[in-house]
């Protein structure tokens, strides 16, 4: 299955007299990491909500692959492969880590009625459960694709040990990781990450950027909005710099870093090397 490109075409969002997003075009191809930077109030967050479907644009459209998804609800976008994470990790605190991931993995279908009648494949009855257990003992465990994905993601992110921990009891760093894992389980074409490094220490941030690279190498497109300029510049393949609702520069990190407008507006206050430390306090 080929993965889709995410495109924003001429997006405009106004709040009264203020134009928060002003004719923004953006292309996020699969397998690449796209960064979105800009000072506070530049319209990053608004653009992000337009992409995720939390808000609707006044003009322009959002296209995933060949489909116009501008008017689609967030959950429909997610089922089509556009999955987001939140600034504040948004796990389901009463479910275990594994169940959190399962919710991520198993909701590409919408047929909930079968579950109501007790017919759903995952809503196994005790009988089918014991049959399954028997098969497992014989080494014939029938792992559905859904469970399989969850196990794979748990393994590859090193979360197997907390799989049965109730998510609400995890510390922030782990929450971020689990949320990321949950998004991966939804088999995204494009991942939208809203400040994934906030609340993480430098070591965790380094691990996160490794993880992002690995994920992108697997063919997933990633769009990342973060205040941590170091993180953004260290992992991205391309950057969009926003000021006052407009994209003022875009391209590979080096080009954007050296763009005069970006330097004057966003990076001017500090030398490049320590830009991250002087980033806005949150």
């Amino acid at each position: 299955m080929s993965r889709h490109v995410l495109q924003a075409v001429g997006l405009v969002r106004r709040y009264g007299g203020l134009t928060a997003v002003d004719h923004v075009d953006l292309v996020a191809p699969p397998g690449m990491i796209t960064g979105l930077i800009g000072p506070n109030g530049a319209g990053k967050s608004t653009l992000f909500s337009l992409l995720t479907g939390v808000e609707q644009p006044d003009e322009g459209k959002v296209v995933l692959g060949n489909t116009d998804i501008t008017r689609m609800r967030p959950d429909i976008r997610s089922r089509r492969g556009l999955v987001q994470t939140f600034q504040v990790p948004s796990l389901f605190p009463t479910l275990t880590v594994a169940d959190n991931l399962l919710v991520g993995a198993e909701n590409r279908r919408r047929d909930y009625a079968g579950g109501l009648l007790g017919l759903s494949a995952q809503g196994r009855s005790r009988v089918s459960h014991s049959i399954e257990r028997g098969l497992e003992r014989l080494g014939l465990a029938p792992k559905g694709p859904v469970t399989q994905i969850v196990e794979e993601v748990l393994d590859s992110l090193g979360l197997s040990d907390v799989r049965d921990t109730i998510a609400g009891t995890l510390p922030t760093g782990a929450l971020r990781l689990v949320e990321f894992a949950r998004a991966l389980c939804a088999r995204p074409d494009i991942l939208l990450l809203d400040e994934p490094a906030s609340g993480l220490d430098s070591e965790e941030t380094a691990k996160l950027s490794q993880l992002l690279r690995r994920t992108a190498a697997g063919g997933v497109g990633i769009v990342i909005v973060d205040h941590d300029v170091d993180l953004v510049f260290s992992v991205v393949d391309q950057v969009y710099a926003m000021v006052g609702g407009r994209v003022v520069a875009s391209g590979d990190p080096e080009t954007v870093r050296n763009d005069p407008t970006v330097r004057s507006v966003y990076l001017a206050q500090a030398p490049l090397a320590v830009a991250g430390q002087s980033g806005e306090a949150r």
């Binding site: 967030p74 948004s90 510390p171 939804a186 993480l200």
Partner: protein
């Protein structure tokens, strides 16, 4: 009467509604709590006032001073100190405060009904003389209306000035924004909150005293009247006092103006209902029309997760022990439910109500406990189910032929589904407070326009139920009820398990997060509401058959509030809790005077501040603590190494808003027993050594544990010897099944180290 006269006649009611609205707004803007108990407090104060004037013969002015300057603010101060301050201290969600105020409502209803009974009293004294002033021409306006208007204006202006111009007003805004932060900045938050409560309850008392002489004084009736004035604060979007006042006057005058019209036929009937129920209709219309209330704080995300703290049933393997325990619990519960079959006929008849009520409670578990929506309209659905099934049985519905009793019940319940679906639509975009009020308004409108209307709800007769030509005896009917309850439980089980169950819990825990990974939030909400309405409808149909009559009072809007509180008290996410709640209420009402169950539920609801998650959660926690205590007396807690958490813990990170979950972070080095006990449930600390994968010498036993193990092993060794002896005597073939070696093996496995040492 001319339009002007009618308008003047409506003024007084409008002014009273405005006073009620001001009271609600004052409490809300100072505490962030929409005080649903306003009606209950108003009624209580009105009864106290009447008692003082009529029974104790106090002069009216003195009684008024006592009621309004002592009793009313006293209630407010007490509530703030005992109920809402603890909630604010632990930053309880808006949903929890809402439930607490429901608890207060139920408690005040219980107190009023307990002391003065449920009967109506028409001798409530009036605060103002019953005279009127001539305005011009023949138009006259009552002294009471004038006085009330003056009060409204004075209060609005004074409160407006305090809020906008004084330091106290600034302090109020600071406290409401962030109580803890305000305190750190030196604002006496508790005093501000207490002042807000005292002012709010005083206005409530005033509303009650003014309303009582205009209508009959009954606990439920007066309370509902005050609840209807919520239309006013919704129009004000919970913030603007002038808008509230103008809306109150507008609706009251509009209602009064309707009296000059007469229509015939169905329209006429609707008009007649509107002439006295414009407030409740306005409440529903406004809730549907006003896009968003200006809720304080972050609104209501995580709506009800805070009082339904239990997660999904395990999706992986279930241990045999746990399975056996589950089955044992279910068998025990089933046996208890069958017990009434041995009762005397009259007691059996009382027990009829239990399964019916339990079904209605289950419907609330579905919507509130599992999918996280606050729904206060259960009585409406139950009543509709009852009415529709009766009409089907009577051959009186849409020209359908008469359908036998039992089939009509199920069909009638199914017919409620579309109404549940429609009610679910507002839930897609609304939640928390707004949704709670919307569902309440739906229930109230249904009650006023359907249940209380003679064309719909009279002339219905209840035939005895029969199955295949056999008339159901009382015992058979009870069994039938249990079967219905079983069906309900099955539905609830399916809603709680597997993919559907996880999706619903995800929706409850974090609806945006759920949508972000593709959970169909919209359809799931609709599904929950629809299924819930059908279950409630079936419960309602059973309720009517168990009480042998349809009464609008059984399905009055206030019932929804009482029932909802009961469900939350007994654990909103617990199906067993729903059944226990039903049994509890029915038992209390049978054993104690009528209305006692209301009082009991109210008292328990106030205790929610100390036990989030309800009784069911408290019981679960108690069992857990006990288990941990036993484990601690067995294995030295300081020697039990905590389970390693592989993901590094960030020191900068704050714990996210996972309200309601008590638990430790799993940080290594938690030494405390209690910490371990809490973590025990969530992190699933294995108690036995070999599962933990610790080195063989890790779990050092306490002296008590060591002696216990020694005892067990001694016993086991003795038994083994006995068994061997028996085996030897019985010969190789007829040996009895050697259960004892099995035991000793298990024991040795659990405590490898001790086994070696002993």
């Amino acid at each position: 009467m001319t339009s002007i006269d009618l308008a003047l006649a409506g003024l007084s009611l409008g002014a009273i509604a405005a006073l009620s609205g001001i009271g609600l707004l004052v409490t809300y803007r100072t505490n962030g709590v929409l005080n649903l108990a306003q009606g209950g407090i108003a009624t209580l104060v009105a009864y106290v006032f009447r008692e003082m004037v009529v029974e104790w013969d106090l002069p009216i002015w003195l009684a008024a001073v006592v009621a309004l300057a002592v009793v009313s603010p006293g209630i407010g101060l007490l509530l703030e100190r005992l109920v809402f301050r603890p909630l604010a201290r632990r930053r309880a969600s808006a949903a929890e405060s809402l439930v607490a105020s429901l608890g207060v409502l139920v408690l005040s209803l219980g107190i009023t009904a307990g002391i003065w009974g449920l009967g109506a009293r028409s001798d409530a004294p009036s605060l103002f003389p019953n005279s009127s002033v001539r305005l011009y021409g023949d138009s006259r306006v009552g002294v009471d209306a004038l006085a009330e208007l003056v009060m409204v204006v004075v209060f609005t202006v004074v409160i407006g000035i305090i809020a906008a111009r004084t330091a106290f007003g600034r302090q109020i805004r600071a406290v409401v924004d962030d109580r803890q932060l305000a305190e750190l900045s030196g604002v006496p938050a508790d005093k501000v909150a207490a002042a807000g409560w005292a002012a709010g309850t005083t206005m409530a008392g005033l509303t009650g005293i003014l309303l009582a002489p205009r209508f009959q004084l009954t606990p439920y009736g007066l309370t509902l009247l005050v609840l209807e004035t919520f239309a006013v604060v919704v129009a004000a979007r919970l913030s603007s006092m002038p808008v509230a006042v103008l809306t109150a006057l507008g609706i009251a005058i509009g209602q009064s103006e309707l009296k000059q019209f007469t229509l015939h036929g169905d329209a006429g009937q609707i008009l007649t209902v509107l002439q006295s129920n414009l407030f409740i209709v306005a409440l529903l219309v406004l809730l549907l029309a006003v896009p968003k209330l200006r809720e304080l704080g972050s609104g209501d995300s995580g709506a009800t997760a805070s009082f339904s703290s239990r997660g999904a049933p395990p999706s992986g393997r279930v241990s045999g022990v746990r399975l056996r325990r589950d089955y044992l619990g279910k068998l025990g519960g089933g046996a208890l439910l069958l017990a009434p079959l041995t009762f005397a006929p009259s007691d059996l008849r009382s027990a009829f109500t239990v399964p019916a009520l339990a079904l209605i409670f289950l419907s609330m578990v579905i919507v509130t406990g599992y999918s996280g929506q606050l729904s206060l309209g259960a009585a409406g659905f139950a009543g509709l189910g009852a009415l529709l099934s009766l009409k089907l049985a009577n051959g009186d519905l849409f020209g359908l032929p008469a359908i036998p009793g039992i089939a009509s019940m199920f069909l009638g319940a199914l017919f409620v589904a579309p109404i549940g679906l429609i009610t679910g639509y507002p839930a897609i975009r609304r939640r928390g407070l707004t949704l709670a009020l919307t569902t309440f308004a739906v229930g109230a409108v249904v009650s006023r326009f359907v249940f209380e209307q003679p064309t719909f709800a009279t002339g219905l007769y209840l035939d005895p139920l029969s199955l295949f030509g056999w008339e159901l005896s009382e015992k058979a009917f009870y069994v039938f009820e249990l079967i219905c309850l079983g069906i309900g439980l099955l539905v609830v089980r399916n809603l709680h398990h597997g993919r559907l169950g996880r999706a619903l819990l995800a929706l409850r825990d974090h609806s945006e997060g759920a949508a972000a990974v593709g959970v169909d939030v919209r359809n799931l909400k609709l599904l929950a509401f629809t299924v819930s309405s059908v279950v409630a409808g079936l419960g309602g149909a059973l309720l009517v058959h168990s009480s042998y009559s349809f009464s609008a009072d059984d399905f009055a809007p206030l019932q929804s509030l009482l029932w909802f509180t009961a469900v939350v008290v007994f654990g909103a996410d617990s199906a067993a809790g729903a059944i226990v709640a039903a049994a509890f209420m029915v038992t209390i009402d049978v054993l104690a005077p009528a209305g006692s169950s209301t009082l009991a539920i109210g008292i328990l609801a106030l205790a929610l501040g100390w036990m989030p998650g309800g009784l069911a959660s408290a019981v679960r926690g108690g069992v857990r603590l006990l288990a941990q205590y036993l484990a601690d007396s067995f294995v030295d807690p300081n020697q039990r190494a905590p389970r390693p958490v592989p993901v590094r813990i960030s020191a900068v990170g704050h714990l996210p808003a996972t309200t309601g979950i008590t638990g430790s972070t799993g940080i290594p080095g938690i030494g405390s027993t209690l910490g371990a006990a809490r973590a025990g449930h969530y992190a699933r600390w294995p108690l036995s050594g070999n599962q933990l994968g610790l080195p063989a010498d890790a779990p050092r036993l306490t002296p008590f544990g060591a002696s216990l193990v020694a005892m067990v092993e001694q016993y086991a060794a003795g038994q083994t010897a006995v068994a061997r002896q028996r085996q030897a005597t019985a010969g190789p073939d007829g040996a009895p099944r050697p259960a004892v070696p099995h035991l000793s093996r298990a024991d040795a496995g659990t405590h490898p180290a001790e086994g070696g040492r002993a």
